[in-house]
């Protein structure tokens, strides 16, 4: 009896481990081929310039970053692609410098065919915590189907891992019985 319980546990563990591994491999493939990034940096939420914000994170007023404006398919380093609200973002874009920010001229200015970034980040406050507010994620719209896929992935991963753990405890003979909630004085 105990033997068959452990055999069933072993089968359960092997099957769910294989499924968990498959889900994890799928996730990392999505990560390495850039699909996760494409889903996140999907469309422009405002008019402006798509940029790779990390490329100029160290710029200062004394040492500004000059971004070359052009219609690049992939943003690499100090480049900026003009976008309109609703446009698909080029690969490598991590944020939008919107037109309003450029018009204000406090952080970024337009100089001919280049964007001059002088204040790439500023300190802001959220729920009492201070954090660096940068151009990363600014004006970016996420793929709504990507959100559905992400939640489904989380549910499936949780289910596979939970079932795998259940199989593991069965396999090692740790029989987990249902708790008797109403025995004795209560």
């Amino acid at each position: 009896m105990a033997g068959s319980f452990r055999v069933r546990g072993t089968i359960k563990f092997v099957v769910w481990t294989a499924l968990s591994a498959a889900v994890c491999i799928y996730f990392w493939m999505e990560y390495f081929n850039g699909n996760l990034q494409r889903q996140y940096y999907y469309k422009a939420k405002s008019n402006g310039w798509a940029v790779h914000a990390e490329a100029f994170k160290d710029a200062t007023k004394d040492k500004p970053a000059m971004l070359q404006i052009g219609s690049f398919e992939k943003i690499e380093g100090l480049q900026a692609v003009p976008v309109k609200k609703g446009d698909r973002l080029p690969f490598g874009a991590t944020g939008i410098i919107d037109k309003k920010t450029v018009d204000e001229g406090k952080r970024v200015t337009l100089e001919g065919n280049t964007l001059k970034v002088t204040v790439p980040w500023q300190i802001k406050d959220s729920k009492g915590f201070k954090y660096r507010d940068t151009f990363t994620h600014k004006g970016v719209e996420t793929d709504p189907w990507g959100a559905v896929e992400a939640v489904l992935f989380i549910l499936v991963l949780g289910f596979c891992l939970g079932s795998m753990a259940e199989g593991f405890t069965d396999m090692i003979g740790m029989k987990i019985e249902k708790i008797k909630h109403y025995e004795g004085a209560h």
Partner: protein, 356 residues
């Protein structure tokens, strides 16, 4: 160090796995998502504030699935109760988010949130402490009188009042052995959902006491059923957060891996203890979270002049996770010793079980 391309930061993977594991353990044991602990931790690791909330909610959804599977095996889930509550919870969460946006428009959100959370947490902490302490004493008295005490013992009479409301439709919760008006369950769902939506958390720390003290479920069933609720409300929260661009899935992935181990331990640990032990831990977690929130409130009210208050608030919140894990570990360790007839402190026998 791992570079999180979407979050735009570098952070050590082991810290995320460890955070997931500790919160998973506490969450699996007391049935909370742990949002009030994870968000500050992620901010400390360098994640932007908005992303910390998104990663937190998304990981809570996955972690709750893992813990729910184990609690189902332990017989701690009342599906009727959970599903009856879900609709109310979702409606409440939406209302809570709208109230939050309204306070934001008034320029009050940070302070309103902290005032609200400190007030509710102090109230719940005091009530659970008093009630659990009385239950603890009652178990001692019954045991001394030679009565065999079961898994659960509560001295609160509040559930009797709510169960006596005979407003149609009446639902029968077979696992929880409760017959109650569905309206009570739905209203509890709405009320706890509003608070969850307003505070931006899963709401477990409000819903578990509500299930125990209003609906009248045993603590174990409240924990399991609440985790089922968190799967649904967390999934909805994750969807909204992802659409708002607040989620780095790679960070979520590492946290769920850690949470898988923690949630297993936390869930299985519930079979070693009685209801009051879980309520004690829930109560202490509320008390400690209150101190952290109170320090942040003073920091905000003092126009953010005293940076050390914010620092201590973060230290307190992170220390709380470790303290609660150690408390759960020591309870399990003493429970095992008690089962084997070895020495345990005087307060332990009333909180643990010898085995079903």
């Amino acid at each position: 160090m791992f570079e999180f391309v979407i979050a735009g930061i570098s952070a050590p993977i082991f810290l995320l796995v460890l955070t997931g594991m500790t919160v998973g353990m506490v969450g699996g044991f007391i049935g909370v998502g742990g949002g009030y602990m994870v968000t500050p931790a992620l901010i400390v690791f360098g994640f932007p504030g908005y992303m910390a909330s998104g990663i937190d909610v998304t990981h809570i959804c996955g972690k709750s699935v893992v813990a729910t599977i184990r609690h189902r095996q332990l017989g701690n889930i009342d599906w009727v109760l959970g599903l009856a509550m879900v609709g109310g919870t979702m409606m409440g969460v939406e209302m809570g988010v709208r109230i939050l946006n309204w306070t934001k428009d008034l320029g009050l959100s940070g302070i309103a949130l902290l005032f609200g959370s400190v007030g509710i947490m102090i109230g719940l902490f005091v009530y659970t402490q008093i009630e659990t302490h009385r239950s603890h004493k009652r178990i001692d008295e019954l045991t001394e009188g030679g009565t065999t005490v079961g898994r659960e013992l509560k001295v609160s009479r509040i559930p009797h009042f709510f169960q006596s409301i005979s407003l149609w439709p009446i639902i029968r919760c077979h696992v929880a052995k409760i017959v109650i008006s569905m309206w009570v369950v739905v209203i509890v769902g709405v009320a706890t959902g509003v608070l969850a939506g307003f505070f931006g958390v899963g709401g477990g720390f409000i819903r578990v006491p509500a299930l125990v003290y209003v609906v009248g479920a045993t603590t174990h069933i409240a924990v399991g059923t609440d985790l089922l609720e968190i799967v649904v409300s967390g999934g909805y929260g994750a969807l909204r957060q992802f659409m708002s661009g607040n989620v780095d899935m790679v960070a979520v992935f590492f946290m769920i891996i850690g949470a898988m181990f923690g949630a297993q331990f936390g869930s299985i640990a519930t079979q070693y203890v009685r209801g009051p032990a879980i309520r004690y831990i829930l109560s202490y977690s509320l008390g400690l979270a209150t101190v952290g929130a109170f320090l942040r409130l003073v920091y905000l009210l003092s126009a953010q002049k005293y940076e050390f208050l914010n620092f201590f608030a973060v230290v307190f919140t992170l220390g709380e996770m470790i303290f609660l894990c150690l408390f759960i570990l020591s309870l399990v360790m003493f429970a095992v010793r008690f089962r084997h007839g070895k020495w345990v402190p005087n307060w332990i026998p009333a909180l643990v079980v010898k085995g079903d």
